[in-house]
Symmetry: C2
Subunit: 202 residues, 2 copies
Amino acid sequence: MPAMEVQAARQPVRRTGGRSARVRAAVIDATLAALLTRGLDDLSITEIAQQAGVHPTTIYRRWGGRSNLALDAVLSGTEAEIPPPDTGSLRGDLLAVIRGIFPFLRTPLGELLVRLALRRDLPEYEAARGGYWAQRFRAGAALFERARARGELRADVDPVLALETLVGPMYVRMLMTGEPLDDALLVRCVDLVLDGIAAQPR
Amino acid sequence: MPAMEVQAARQPVRRTGGRSARVRAAVIDATLAALLTRGLDDLSITEIAQQAGVHPTTIYRRWGGRSNLALDAVLSGTEAEIPPPDTGSLRGDLLAVIRGIFPFLRTPLGELLVRLALRRDLPEYEAARGGYWAQRFRAGAALFERARARGELRADVDPVLALETLVGPMYVRMLMTGEPLDDALLVRCVDLVLDGIAAQPR
DNA sequence: GCCTTATCGCTACTTGCCTTGCGTTAGTGG
DNA sequence: CCACTAACGCAAGGCAAGTAGCGATAAGGC
């Protein structure tokens, strides 16, 4: 009887090139197309499969469900990484920030990303949620530091809350009320956050 | 051959009392319970039916689908109608408004209502969307009128945008970032909307 | 109380989602 | 070029959603 080798938990050698890569690209493309036309909820894996020229079983095995597939597709199609602005003034920076977000949100892909972010039935996304948004809001930190150094900012301002207040109306209109939304409104958002609504400082 | 009577488009006499009422109540209750435990997406009509002591076919016939059922259940369980505040100061009124919304949103039913409002696959809700939010924001109009009369409000302030800016961070945290959210933050929201973040008026 | 028929329960059926098991193809390392 | 096996295609089948037809029950009007 040969000496029993201690089996290291050897994970199988992944084959990421060639056929697998082609399959993945085709499926991701078909999924994005299906997401943009039919929406998040009623997308047929069978349909995606034959659109991609792939057997449905393959999708189930690799992605294991529609939510994981949708998440992978959208994140693959998105590499936002909006560069942090530095226009020289607080107002200019804030305008640049919100103007960098807004056009992307009007994109079908952008709206898809937001709606995906709102879901709570995607355990895969729950893990990434914190990091994702933290990164998106981090760009704002430097912006406020510079403004503070220039004396444009009050001392007690919380950058995160300020950014949330800036973009809040945009999301409220887009997601809930459906009120009109254009560049002029963005300017008004910036000015409201800067100056407030009170007649005189209290 | 008897004279052909012109058939008036006679709609059948609805039977809303007795058994039908009991069935409806039982199904709505079971649906709400299922919604609160399992969420919006994967609720089983069969399960709801046997929970309510009713045959699944009945649900399909009366409601005709899961989206309509969910919408009916949530709207039946909700009669918000938050009374418009009048505390004598703009700051007090804004605080009262946001403090009236916030606790309800933390309720499971409240969060459910919001998430339902975010859906775009409920044609029944699409029709009611505009009116619903318009009504919710209308209460704010009077509030701002009084503030303006007291001289607390700048002249160029748009009430709707101001309210959206006020509640924006609350929804952003609740729906997207998941950052902590408590009463102290509400106060900071109010003060930020009132005073803005700029060091001095431009 | 009686009649009409809206509404419900039940069974059987169709359909699409998803899984399982097995044979085949083609990456990957040598 | 060869051996190993990850990844894919395919067929069969379980399972729950949803539909259709029909008889049974009870609500509403008289």
